[in-house]
């Protein structure tokens, strides 16, 4: 079916651009790869029947976070000796840090892999269909209902969190003008 094709496309996109994020040494390109990764994850959400989450993913990450990242990259630079291209793009690490990262990742991979293998061993990995497919046909109504009934406290808390983040970000990023006077 269509979703199968979509799954392979998005999975490829996700993993390929995830690897790009690690490999590429230009921060701008790394950010572009991250964009691809986000789009891929959104595609994966669609294959899981989570249309709404996919759209939210698109809206928040692509429309918001990535642009914020790009702005932050443009508003900051680095020491001249590490510049890449004509812009002052900052340090992307060296072989020593990469080694440390790979070691940690390997350890992590081993333990997570063990858990996954255990899960697959009891047959959880083989589940291919949702127990109640009708639930995933249109999730907007249910998500809205759940947000305002069962999870209303979390919903309100997240609104407070967002307000705090908004004000906090605005105040933190504002340059100090009063002290210089």
């Amino acid at each position: 079916m269509f979703l199968t094709v979509l799954f392979f496309l998005s999975a490829t996109l996700t993993i390929a651009s995830g690897i790009m994020v690690v490999v590429v040494r230009n921060l701008m390109h790394s950010c572009m790869a991250l964009l691809g990764c986000f789009i891929g994850v959104a595609g994966l959400y669609v294959t899981l029947g989570a249309n709404f989450i996919a759209a939210v993913q698109f809206m928040v990450y692509v429309g918001g976070v990535i642009i914020l990242m790009l702005f932050a990259i443009m508003l900051t630079g680095n020491k001249p000796e590490e510049k890449v291209g004509s812009f002052l793009l900052p340090a992307m690490g060296n072989r020593r840090t990469l080694t440390w990262g790979l070691i940690t990742a390997l350890v992590f991979f081993l333990s997570v892999g063990k858990i996954l293998l255990g899960m697959f061993g009891i047959g959880l990995g083989k589940k291919t269909a949702p127990t109640d497919p009708s639930l995933f046909e249109s999730t907007v109504d249910e998500i809205g209902t759940l947000l305002l009934t069962d999870h209303v406290l979390a919903f309100e808390m997240s609104s407070v969190l967002l307000l705090g983040a908004l004000i906090g970000a605005a105040i933190i990023a504002r340059p100090e003008t009063s002290k210089e006077k």
């Binding site: 269509f2 094709v5 709404f52 692509v62 429309g63 443009m74 291209g85 999730t139 907007v140």
Partner: protein, 386 residues
């Protein structure tokens, strides 16, 4: 989408034959792959056959209308009334040399116009051209549209960054900040309508309106009336149209984020812009002006009815399109601080007020429109007031 396509296609012999042969060759069931490919080809054809002319005719309309407003004649050489001018322009664009500036970030430079195109063209998938001619009946329609169109913001930003030119960079920064700022009032205005109709799908949004103006959401209540204007102003800013065309302000930034683009890449940006204007007008028509609804639901189940619906939809959209062009050639450009003031101090609070107002209206009057309320009270008064 596939639910209808595969049974339809499996009626054809060639389809089944192809499936058999490719399955044998590739050793797995290729039904979905084939139908996906066929659908992709179909959709691309539609995009090229419908949207390219829309974008092209957009440029033609712009030039012709601006000429009209300035008491000139405009293009009149190529074809009758110069109507084939856009084809000539297109051919010129294709034939031009593709120049990449020396200090440019090549990867991003190539990526940006594509992103703009993709972001805009993806939105077309859910546009309700008529009740039958909607490519995807998505349950999150309008939300999907708004989400996908945010790709344009990134494209503008990258287009500004990539060529390593200060005009471009300034234009790109301005464009991105403008687009993400104006997304807020636009989304909140749309949310008010979503609240009234109770769904995000365009089927629901358009279906809960009617053919005649008194059943449009525009005249549903005072808040939606305001919301329409908030949406329209926000949409102008999102599409970087005058008077909000700061990212490409000719007099100060040469041509903003596409200063360094030539040839086909420039054409991509231009096309994306015109199609985006079309899409935003179409959304306005669908959300506020009754969309494809024909007065009296004429010929609803007849194939000709689809044509009527297409006509209604395109009439509304193109009138709005005309207004956009009209505004561009009438109003002067505003300053950057005015731009931000309009967004954060006026449009966003008004949009929030509208949202709360709509919610209160729903609560108080049970979702009835102001016209039906007036009508009911009139009938009530006529029949004795009890």
């Amino acid at each position: 989408m596939n639910g209808g396509l595969i049974p339809y296609l499996s009626g054809f012999d060639w389809f089944n034959q192809t499936i058999k042969s490719t399955s044998a060759f590739l050793s797995f069931d290729t039904t979905s792959l084939l139908s996906f490919l066929i659908y992709a080809v179909f959709a691309s054809l539609l995009v090229f056959l419908v949207l390219m002319p829309i974008g092209g005719l957009g440029t033609y309309a712009e030039r012709k209308i601006s000429a009209d407003l300035q008491a000139r004649i405009g293009p009149n050489r190529v074809g009758p009334y110069g109507i084939l001018q856009f084809l000539a322009d297109g051919i010129k664009m294709v034939l031009k040399e593709d120049i990449v500036p020396v200090g440019a970030d090549r990867f991003v430079f190539y990526l940006a116009p594509l992103l703009a195109m993709v972001g805009v063209f993806m939105t077309v998938a859910v546009l309700p051209l008529s009740s039958g001619l909607t490519m995807v009946h998505l349950d999150i329609g309008v939300f999907y549209l708004l989400a996908v169109s945010s790709l344009v913001g990134i494209a503008v930003f990258l287009g500004g960054y990539a060529p390593n030119s200060k005009w471009s960079l300034l234009g790109g920064m301005r464009g991105a900040s403008q687009i993400i700022s104006y997304e807020i009032p636009v989304v909140i205005s749309v949310l008010a309508i979503v609240l009234l109709s109770g769904g995000m799908s365009f089927d629901v949004l358009v279906g809960s309106q009617g053919g005649l103006p008194h059943r449009w959401f525009l005249f549903h209540n005072p808040f939606t009336f305001l919301a329409f204007f908030v949406y329209f102003v926000g949409a102008l800013a999102e599409a970087n149209r005058a008077p909000f065309d700061l990212p490409e302000a000719e007099s100060e930034l040469v041509s903003g984020y596409h200063t360094e683009y030539t040839g086909m890449r420039f054409a991509f940006f231009a096309l994306a812009e015109y199609v985006e204007v079309f899409v935003l007008c179409a959304v306005a028509a669908a959300l506020f002006l009754g969309g494809y609804n024909v007065p009296g639901e004429l010929l609803k189940d007849h194939p000709l009815g689809q044509l009527l619906q297409l006509g209604a939809f395109f009439t509304k959209t193109l009138i709005l399109y005309y207004v956009v062009i009209w505004v561009r050639w009438t109003l002067p450009r505003i300053r950057v601080d005015q731009l931000m003031t309009i967004c954060w101090k006026y449009l966003t609070p008004i949009a929030l007020f509208n949202l709360v107002g709509c919610a209160l209206w729903m609560y108080c009057f049970d979702g009835k429109s102001i016209v039906s309320l007036l009508f009911e009270s009139g009938v009530g008064a006529a029949s004795g007031g009890h």
